[in-house]
Symmetry: C2
Subunit: 477 residues, 2 copies
Amino acid sequence: MKNIFFCAIIISIVACQSKNNNKSKASKIATKEEKLDSTHIKQFFDSALTKGKSYEWLRDLTQNIGGRLSGSPEAEKAVKWGETLMKEVGLDSVWLQPVMVPHWIRGEKEKAYYTVNGTNQNVAICALGFSIATPEEGITAEVIEVKSLEEAESLGDKMKGKIVFFNRPFDNTLINTFAAYGGCVGQRVRGAAVCGKFGAKGVIVRSMTNGINDYPHTGTMSYGNLPKEQQIPAAAISTQAAENLSADLKKNPNLQFYFKQSCKTLSDAPSFNVVGEIKGSKTPENIIVVGGHLDSWDLGEGAHDDGTGVVQSLEVAYLFNANKIRPKNTLRVVFFMNEENGTRGAKKYAQLAKENGENHIAGLESDAGGHTPRGFSIQANDKNTKLLQSWNKLLAPYGLHDLVKGGSGADISPLKNETVTLVGYRPDSQRYFDYHHTATDTFDKVNKRELELGSASMASLIYLMDKYLYNNTPIKP
Amino acid sequence: MKNIFFCAIIISIVACQSKNNNKSKASKIATKEEKLDSTHIKQFFDSALTKGKSYEWLRDLTQNIGGRLSGSPEAEKAVKWGETLMKEVGLDSVWLQPVMVPHWIRGEKEKAYYTVNGTNQNVAICALGFSIATPEEGITAEVIEVKSLEEAESLGDKMKGKIVFFNRPFDNTLINTFAAYGGCVGQRVRGAAVCGKFGAKGVIVRSMTNGINDYPHTGTMSYGNLPKEQQIPAAAISTQAAENLSADLKKNPNLQFYFKQSCKTLSDAPSFNVVGEIKGSKTPENIIVVGGHLDSWDLGEGAHDDGTGVVQSLEVAYLFNANKIRPKNTLRVVFFMNEENGTRGAKKYAQLAKENGENHIAGLESDAGGHTPRGFSIQANDKNTKLLQSWNKLLAPYGLHDLVKGGSGADISPLKNETVTLVGYRPDSQRYFDYHHTATDTFDKVNKRELELGSASMASLIYLMDKYLYNNTPIKP
């Protein structure tokens, strides 16, 4: 598409379609206030798409700093980067919130293989966050394949001395890929805790992704209350390796699997949330927070997870300033630290908000990737949920159709109470788990327009919440 | 996202959200027929996402054949590939429709540069389809920059002996990138016709894309009725080159621009539309056609334009067969030849349909890329437009919100009459012009799930049209 010369008619149809679309949508917008809102929303989109900054900010964060796991030198650099940038954007005040974070390091590159018919099969593997190392010589053992924690649990002592292989794939029929993730991630998080208590030697887990490829996806795990002597090493293997291993086990059930990793958890390290705000013009004591997380896993550059959320959150403030729209309530931008393995930044932020008697009326988090906008997930009381859903005609022209009740995000949900309206930005989810927690989560996977449309979507929602939640939410005494 | 262990609550929220979503949407589906429709639509999506074939078909077409401009050996191979594949899928009958197509060849790689301050600036350039060559020694001339055909026209004789540089950029504030394309493509198509008559030596045109990068985008142009002696060479330069040249012209208005190309138009070549069908169970004399175009530009692999449309169209038939759903009307799959530079295949198909007294009740074309589904553009009478729009609750759970009146596609629109319902599949447009007509339109830019969701979206609409247009459209006497 499109042979335009021979199909001049088609072009004019496309052009008319676009105009008619806007017209028919505009004609449904009846009131004067709605017209004003529609104008401001268009300003946010126009500015983001023509003079947006988020893409170059993201390039800098991902390519000059890169992966930035909590406690790492890169995370420290990212804090300074964030503080400097917030000041450059001209926020009224910028500060750091000190927070102690877990400090897990990967160590040497992991190694895994097994032998079938005399041939070594190398396995793409990576340690899971918080896992212990293997002994220095690695672990070699037979493998038991299971599809769930329940199946593992039912094996009991049979897993003693074995490596348990969790191989439950994503349910690809789920349109929302986060639902598929939710259906599998338990094996990654709790696999070692379940198998350690029965004396398994280690666990390996199929990577959390829709497709079949060679990249292992890391992510956090936990031993729960398991005593130290029962803790066993846990790693992820690529989906291609999982498919191969499963097939090979059918023919060679006694094959010996070897893996080695040298990760460890050091003492907690000092770090920071980066915070900046535009003071509200009417009720500065009421706060609307917008944020993403500054830390990332170490294998890629932390682009979609969650560099995009960080730069979009700051771009919201930039878009208010660029369009000379001053929020009535205080607009606070937060780059949260340690979402990936601890959410210590989120907890610290909520704790300080409580201690300081701050009144958060709303929050918006972007931590679902930087893909094309689809909508928002609303965690609020019924009244405010309905209010937000009533903005659908203002948001639909920008592809924001999904205004659904649901979770918001790991970093803002500790703020939850009876009155606060918490929202998660929801871009299209189809490509997210191609990159999530793996080496391919790099800057080149982010499309400039998709990123900017996200910033503008978020600014639009913040604008509406700032205006309409203002009279809607009681100010704390 | 997501630190699941520390945020088990979040997971359950996400999971609940997904379930509730489905539930709330399902609960609005009232009638028995709607329930059945909803079940069949889910079958299409489930099959596409778990046993879809389109991605591997596309890999084969793009990587083993590649770019396939009309008249080229690759286009010939693609015809054989299509015929073989349709037979493999088990269509009831498969045949080729002979059609003569234009045969333009690019020749040697084009070359362009200019000199500022003694330094050669190389320019990324490519000839436009149907352009004539430059003389063998190339063209060297001063450059006049314009932003529109009207501005060029107003220059009149001032452009004599000059190269006219059309540098109108995309309007990036348009959310639908096809509208931005529609606002610029006239300079590519008609620039040479306008400037040739005033004695310009050649035209160079800013590439049709949203971003700034180093890839020239080709595409068709036409001399209209311009006599042969007034025809001048036309080429596209990359957006980065256009930005640089524009800046350099401000400082050096008399700089000499050089370009050379050796393209030419040969005699028309024999080729084919590839056609296959599943015979209708009730009214086989009524036809629903689904298609994309098999030819592509030569610079890339013709992945998003339009390999994706081709494999999705065939996957529609595959999904009907795989789910043992037999259409009431005949379902015809067409791989059209020569959409890019001539639409001869489309014209031939419509001409034969008329000659053979075929009754097309509906058509669906996929030629807007293989990105994530957004909806359909409906070219039909008001009654049928409303009917299609009434299916929104069945389609919305799959991200298909845009059911708008508009154009359908270059290959099916010659079938237009009073009763036929023509529809264009409309995936998300944000990334399309990153790849369109350029060297980066390659297989690796296509996401498997996005492609498969498109096939299922198309199958779902075809299913509904097959069922509900059946009693709705008069059979021709």
